[in-house]
């Protein structure tokens, strides 16, 4: 028997994340430029009838660039901008999601059906980029 099974796991998640959700990192392999402006470095397809909360992100950029996370919340497009004035890495996580109050969700016929993390500027040839999104999903 796992120790975890002796615990009240949903209650523990409620206390840790504020809702009964299992967090997971959405990642993909590093991207090497060149790529065009508004290139999606990582993203997640959304299913109807769920709210998705963004508990964190990681970005590695081998050159200055601007990044944005884009999602749809109740039909409105939302953005979170992250500026990299130089190359570097940022990992941000918190127990309050960056979209607390504006969860990502999708309706049938929505034009945007993903949470995506994009590079606003074009990626230079041979320059490495990496990105991830820490997502929790709950029933609507």
């Amino acid at each position: 028997m796992r120790f975890g099974s002796l615990m009240n796991e949903p209650a523990a998640r409620m206390l840790r994340y504020g809702r009964d959700t299992q967090l997971g990192w959405e990642s993909k392999e590093d991207t090497t430029g060149p790529f065009a402006a508004n290139y999606e470095l990582v993203g997640l397809d959304l299913e109807p009838n769920y709210n998705y909360y963004i508990y964190g992100y990681r970005i590695t950029s081998g050159e200055p660039n601007i990044f944005y996370i884009r999602w749809l919340s109740d039909g409105d497009v939302k953005y979170h901008l992250v500026d990299f004035p130089s190359d570097g890495t940022v990992v941000y996580t918190d127990n309050i999601p960056i979209n607390e109050g504006e969860p990502a969700n999708v309706r049938y016929g929505s034009s945007i059906v993903r949470i995506g993390l994009f590079a606003l500027g074009a990626g230079g040839a041979g320059v490495k980029y990496g990105a991830g999104l820490l997502i929790g999903r709950v029933d609507q």
């Binding site: 409620m14 206390l15 504020g18 009964d20 601007i66 992250v82 500026d83 004035p85 309050i96 960056i98």
Partner: protein, 139 residues
């Protein structure tokens, strides 16, 4: 949300933020593209009902140029402010589990602002926000 989840959510907020807040939310502007004059009131948030008081638990500033900011709010009509000087362009995402305005919450009629103190340049991108916890006053 089930009753047990509402109770757990309340406990989560209490354990993380110490005040008996009922609700917390990031209030964030859309991306803003300069130019704008200065001082520019980028952002405003306030309690929307008489029986609410608001606590500020974090701020978010992205700008593609260097600037200085004032987080400026009123509590019972009295002004309070803190300067935020990032020192360079970039992103600041700062949260705390003790409210920045713990001793001076916003009441109905009070506002909080983020003000850019220097001009916002042509084609410069900005986005700002505040993490606000709201407490429903029990009379």
């Amino acid at each position: 949300m089930k009753i047990s989840e509402i109770s757990s959510r309340k406990q989560f907020l209490m354990e993380n933020f110490g005040e008996e807040i009922d609700y917390i939310e990031w209030y964030v502007t859309p991306p803003l593209l300069g130019p704008y004059p200065h001082p520019y009131y980028i952002f405003e948030v306030h309690p929307v009902y008489e029986d609410l008081e608001c606590f500020i638990y974090g701020y978010f500033i992205t700008s593609t140029e260097e600037n200085e900011y004032l987080l400026y709010w009123y509590s019972n009509g009295e002004p309070y402010m803190i300067y935020i000087t990032p020192g360079s362009e970039g992103t600041i995402l700062q949260t705390t589990n003790v409210a920045i305005n713990k001793s001076a919450p916003l009441y109905y009629g009070d506002n909080a602002y983020i003000v850019a103190l220097n001009p916002i340049g042509d084609s410069q991108l900005y986005q700002v926000g505040l993490l606000v916890g709201t407490y429903k006053i029990v009379k």
